[in-house]
């Protein structure tokens, strides 16, 4: 099996497992289902998103996701899994106005599903990378767009207000007792400017693969800082960085799994009574 195909398999399995635990097994889906069944005014009377439909797609997604992980009927069940994923995310969007996981994983996951129908694995990986890059670059671009108003964002008040509103709940404050606002003001300002520059510089990944080595760790560091300052929701995008794991490591994992499988076959065979 070639490395690109192995890598696509690896991404499908890890992302599916992650989404299963993050979304499908989340108690939040049961809560939403309970609220909708009891006619709470949260889904704007949507006729599609009902309490029973939520539970149905949750469990359908769990079954489809499990089959995808074990590569059983992946061509059929990966689209089913994606559909269930979109449905649950849409219900969450209607309820709380947040896209969450949908924003990042929908398009790369569709490319992964398409890749089941093609041998252009390298091309598929490229498109997934494009999705990753686009996500960050457009996030940075949006902050300085339109350009005549970019300075308003750079003032940093938006981020300062966000950090301040979540400070008491943040790990930095709760666990380490660090008060962000006791830090010099330029630190926050520099952080705001640095985050925009970093988001925009992710585009370099498309032009030179060498830049992955320092841009991706910086992006992960950026997520870690956000996590510590009380916005852990964004941490869910860090799993996207798995696409940059070098092929040699994935080959090693595949080899290890093959060895385990072979060893298990040997052990099972030795346990059978000889005739």
């Amino acid at each position: 099996m070639n490395t690109a195909r192995l890598k696509i398999n690896f991404i499908i399995i890890t992302w599916t497992v992650f989404l299963l635990f993050r979304l499908f097994f989340s108690e939040g889906i049961n809560l939403l289902s309970f609220l909708i069944k009891n006619e709470a005014p949260i889904t704007k009377s949507s006729i599609i998103v009902t309490g029973s439909a939520l539970l149905f797609f949750k469990w359908l997604g769990v079954v489809a996701g499990t089959l995808v992980v074990f590569n059983a009927g992946r061509k059929l069940f990966l689209p089913v899994f994606i559909f269930c994923f979109v449905f649950l995310c849409y219900a969450i969007f209607l309820a709380i106005g947040s896209y969450g996981l949908w924003a990042f994983y929908f398009m790369p996951f569709c490319v992964l599903a398409f890749s089941c129908y093609t041998k252009a694995y390298q091309k598929a990986l490229l498109y997934i990378t494009v999705c990753y890059v686009a996500f960050y670059v457009f996030a940075g671009f949006a902050k300085i767009f339109p350009f005549w108003n970019a300075l308003d964002w750079m003032q940093g008040y938006t981020i300062e207000n966000l950090l301040f509103s979540r400070q008491k709940e943040s790990i930095l404050y709760h666990v380490f007792g660090v008060d962000i606002f006791s830090l010099p003001r330029w630190v926050v300002k520099a952080g705001v400017l640095g985050s925009v520059v970093l988001e925009l510089s992710v585009v370099l990944i498309l032009f030179s693969h060498k830049t992955v080595k320092f841009i991706v760790p910086l992006v992960l560091l950026f997520h870690l800082v956000l996590f510590l300052t009380g916005t852990p929701g964004i941490v869910e995008y860090t799993f996207g960085a798995l696409i940059f794991i070098p092929g040699k490591y994935i080959e090693r994992i595949a080899l290890l799994l093959t060895n385990i499988k072979t060893r298990m076959h040997v052990v099972i065979a030795s346990m059978r009574p000889s005739s």
């Binding site: 108690e27 939040g28 809560l31 939403l32 309970f34 609220l35 009891n38 006619e39 709470a40 005014p41 949260i42 061509k75 059929l76 689209p79 994606i82 969450i92 309820a95 709380i96 106005g97 947040s98 896209y99 969450g100 924003a103 990042f104 929908f106 398009m107 569709c110 599903a113 398409f114 129908y117 093609t118 041998k119 091309k123 598929a124 498109y127 686009a134 996500f135 457009f138 949006a142 902050k143 767009f145 339109p146 108003n149 308003d152 964002w153 003032q155 008040y157 938006t158 207000n161 301040f164 509103s165 979540r166 709940e169 943040s170 790990i171 032009f207 009380g230 916005t231 852990p232 929701g233």
Partner: protein, 156 residues
């Protein structure tokens, strides 16, 4: 690589100029930005679609899904899939007074739901986020149902 870079740079500059002209004339930041970017993705998407060897029905399903997504962006004028697009509409130009947040507390007066659900550990992060955002709505019916779902808890 350099010819590719130049080609992409030209496209990006054209996109920026066109988007700014459109913005200057129409003033609708979210709509223009989200629509333009989604169009670019449509192009990439369709290009990939034509690479497929077997264009089976299931692939068409994905194109339909993507069309639904596009329609969602255009009709609802939201910013999906780039939730930060049109961030300008969220920009705050001065320091604000932070309103008191409402959270869920258990019998021992310990907070159960926060935006940083992970630090509490009594709810998963997704659940905590949903509860926190729902409590922000200040709706009596939602509050009472949440309390019914989490017996023994109180909202403060």
């Amino acid at each position: 690589m350099s010819s590719n870079f130049l080609r992409i740079a030209k496209s990006v500059i054209s996109f920026i100029i066109i988007a700014h002209v459109l913005l200057y004339t129409s003033g609708r930041v979210n709509f223009v930005a989200a629509f333009s970017i989604t169009c670019i993705f449509c192009f990439v998407w369709i290009k990939f679609f034509f690479l497929l060897q077997n264009k089976e029905t299931i692939s068409l399903l994905f194109l339909c899904l993507f069309s639904v997504q596009l329609a969602h962006v255009v009709l609802k004028r939201t910013t999906f899939p780039f939730s930060n697009i049109g961030m300008y509409s969220l920009v705050q130009k001065e320091k604000k007074e932070v309103p008191d947040t409402r959270n869920l507390y258990d019998e021992r007066e310990e907070v159960v739901s926060t935006n940083s659900g992970l630090i509490v550990g009594k709810m998963d992060d997704n659940e905590s986020k949903i509860v926190t955002r729902l409590l922000k709505k200040n709706d009596k019916k939602i509050d009472s149902l949440i309390l019914l779902y989490y017996p023994g808890c109180a909202i403060k």
